[in-house]
Symmetry: D2
Subunit: 293 residues, 4 copies
């Protein structure tokens, strides 16, 4: 039986994800704070709800994909929020990256109404969202995870259940800190190369042949050579995720020297106007710090 899905959040990630679900034949109702972003989906067969509450009332499962914890708090627990429309037996799945604390709180709130809550943050940005090749990192009730595998299979190439609520969020933070660290590592290699007089294109070709040629390194190479960084994943969001990872690290007493060092460079990049660029613009910040720009 195909579930009736409600989808909240039609930003860069939400749009291609909903498109895939509609194309796969799911019955989807959408809600977006700015309604104009929702309207194109009506032509594709989606219903449009006027509030999270209304949306929640008419579906089996509510999925949220928003930019940060404050927005999630608002759509779930604000006036006219999901909680006010939920009934026992429903499931809410948050696919945003907000860290373990908000999802644990949400799980508790929905459990009190007899509803289930999963967090299912994703690794991958706009490209994988379009291609359905996201990696989905799930925490919460295992049966609810299994029940929603058909949804996850449309959105991602793999999904993993990490345990209770909060553990999917933690897995996401662990993976994302690698992302931020890797791109700063790449950037520092390129800055060293430039200061030493190496041709950047040749250096990137050599890197592409080595054991550090992560998919993200290969993927960012064209934008590096063009020196243009339109946001696939905005630097300010990477900065936010570093903050969440370091918050969990502090609480669990994990000492993460390189993660915290990289975080401070992303903070500097954001303070210098690069927050809305792609996270690869950390290279630009490091080039400034090296006097190259």
């Amino acid at each position: 039986m195909t579930k009736k899905l409600g989808w909240i959040g039609l930003g860069n990630m939400g749009q291609p994800m909903v498109t895939r679900l509609l194309n796969a034949g799911f019955d989807v109702t959408v809600y977006n704070r700015t309604r104009s972003k929702a309207e194109p989906f009506a032509a594709m067969g989606a219903k449009i709800a006027d509030s999270p509450r209304e949306l929640a009332a008419g579906v089996d499962t509510v999925i949220t994909m928003v930019s940060d914890g404050e927005t999630l708090e608002e759509v779930l627990f604000g006036e006219g929020g999901v909680l006010s429309g939920i009934t026992a037996g429903q499931t809410v799945i948050d696919m945003s990256t907000v860290g373990p604390e908000p999802v644990q709180k949400a799980a508790t709130e929905f459990a009190a109404r007899g509803a289930k809550f999963l967090e299912a943050p994703v690794s991958g940005s706009v490209g994988p969202a379009k291609d359905g090749t996201l990696v989905i990192l799930v925490g919460g009730d295992e049966a609810a995870y299994e029940a929603h595998k058909p949804v996850f299979d449309v959105l991602g190439k793999a999904s993993f259940h990490f345990g209770e609520n909060g553990q999917g969020a933690n897995a996401k933070l662990a993976i994302n800190l690698m992302l931020g660290v890797f791109l700063q590592g790449l950037s520092e290699a390129l800055v060293l190369g430039s200061k030493a007089g190496l041709d950047r294109e040749t250096l990137l070709k050599a890197i592409a042949q080595t054991a550090v040629a992560a998919p993200i390194v290969l993927g960012k190479t064209p934008s590096i050579l063009a020196d243009e960084f339109p946001a696939a994943f905005a630097l300010k969001h990477m900065e936010k995720d570093f903050g969440l990872a370091l918050h969990t690290a502090k609480k669990t007493e994990a000492s993460l020297p390189v993660t915290s060092s990289a975080h401070q460079t992303y903070v500097a990049a954001k303070a210098n106007g690069l927050g809305d660029h792609d996270l690869m613009a950390v290279l630009t910040q490091l080039e400034r710090m090296a006097g190259l720009k």
Copy 2:
């Protein structure tokens, strides 16, 4: 015309590299400080020289593959060293990782004798050395580079000419700093995961699906799960290469915050007895710093 090659240095890297050259039909004379390491190669068709000088006198091209700058200095310029046996028209190729300064010095010394000098450090450790899939990063005379492509093609899957002497060395340092940073980034993700209660195997499976799944990350996964780190590339050598990269960075005024932060963790690992383990043992040091071990 196949050149007569002389090979100095039969450590973990030199052994499989010479084996490949012999198998490919090259005429190879070998020298190793500890002669017993050279003897097995006689059975494979190699000649054995008693000194770098003797070796240099009988070949077209001398290749050195040693562990550090001091050893290179000794075999090239010490008593009975290569320089004392070199004649005009020969070529010397150093494939060690010693940084730009020793190779620039060597190039000057050999040029004074009418000989050519290339540095050709490699990216890749024992496995790629056996498989002939090293990446070879060359600095020095371009004609000499072209003339030795047949040798490089046996040893590596790709070679790149970066310009004058020192630039191959610089490229190597840039790539190796990425290696050290990436494995520390991976380690910090794993430490955060463990402190937060994530199952390490599931986390590594998820990482393997994402954009940070560099070949080195996938390659180290079995040793991480076994928690055993026999050296493919010894941590102390990574520590040395970080030092060389940061020395060049200092000279060229490149500010590399994450590289220097990672370096200090590798120094701590070395100071705590992990220098002869694989560089992946930086994970062990970080686990200790997190109170996990």
Copy 3:
């Protein structure tokens, strides 16, 4: 007219501070969660309240001095908390170090009841608390600050008004990050000295003559030489304050590379059992990382 003061929190700091106020002739009522800690003050003339609410009801000004934000939340806003006993015209002063957010929240809550709220965190640990040489960093209503100068003058050698609520807290965090960074800088100098073979006592004598001889450096010298670190200011509290400073830094987009690096070392120290020692035990953590211990 001497005000009637209520004091909540009789830990290492609260005890000597209340003692000074009683000796100076103030009328003081005290409350402590563990009542046995309050009883000795009765003999010195203090009244004892059974709850924060009861305490608040009988005084002009309530002062809180607790260990962290959670405890402050509890004594101010929990059941039987200060808020439930407050009436218009009273003043509440928090002298703990909890960061700007809790004090801004508290100020709003008390303002709604017609009460004033100041934060007045202190720089200085047990010794200055006894001697009345704390430095008091105040945020909130300026008239309330002026009205309580007689209290501050008993407790500290200087007080500063930094503006609205939150700014005293911010000043405290700025100063405390210097403390943590300075002691790590000292520790790194001592570790380098020990690894290089310098006599530690001679090095400390030399340091004492130089421009880096901060009072805190001189003050910690005996404990360093004894290699014993009973807590004057517990390392775990310094770790907490680093976290608060970096939280404010993140929010205001201040990139603080050295502060964040030091923080991670304190996290490592805490994860390795040094949290209840004096913050100077960061030296022990660094000695371990250098293989000295």
Copy 4:
């Protein structure tokens, strides 16, 4: 018996130091690469030598005070250098900051000629050089140290003998890393304060009352408030000393996370044109990284 002294190096430090020695009645011969800087000292009673060799030939003790290791190498061992003019029984004292390796090398070279060599780097910049309140950190032969106490007593308020050659140099590096770290810690506190809206002057007044009020903090306060950083101790020299300290740390396997983090900020400052400003200009670099400038 007053010794005949030869002095090489009349920069910012050398000038006031020679002036003190002349005023104290020492017989001083001076040499400076740019002779015009030497001439004013003739009017004060100094002789002027035309080369280090000539200078060495006419005195009991040669003192060098130059800007870096390359210059020291040149004046000691270059053509017409001190070594070429030295005879058995003389003493050479280097008061520059060049790290342990050059002074150990120099000691060996001079010992081969029967001459003694002390390194005696100083803590303190131009002000203390004028006032004779430098702190002098000595390595080398103890008898030679004792014999030159009268000279050190004119130049400094205290001198310490740390053992064999190299140990005075190491002590200097340990103390100087504290200097660089402390001023970055101060700068980060000020940057956090500015981003959070604190009045800088009030914050500095408060800092001046606390346990982190090191003499260097108080001494730099006027230049911070004026936001002008004429060099008392040039930032590029601090950057150099960080490099020397980290080189020794690497060799001795001391992990210094905060020192290396601070070093990278000073490198960035130098790469951005601040190398000839006072080291306090690290604040300017951090202000830029925070988007304040």
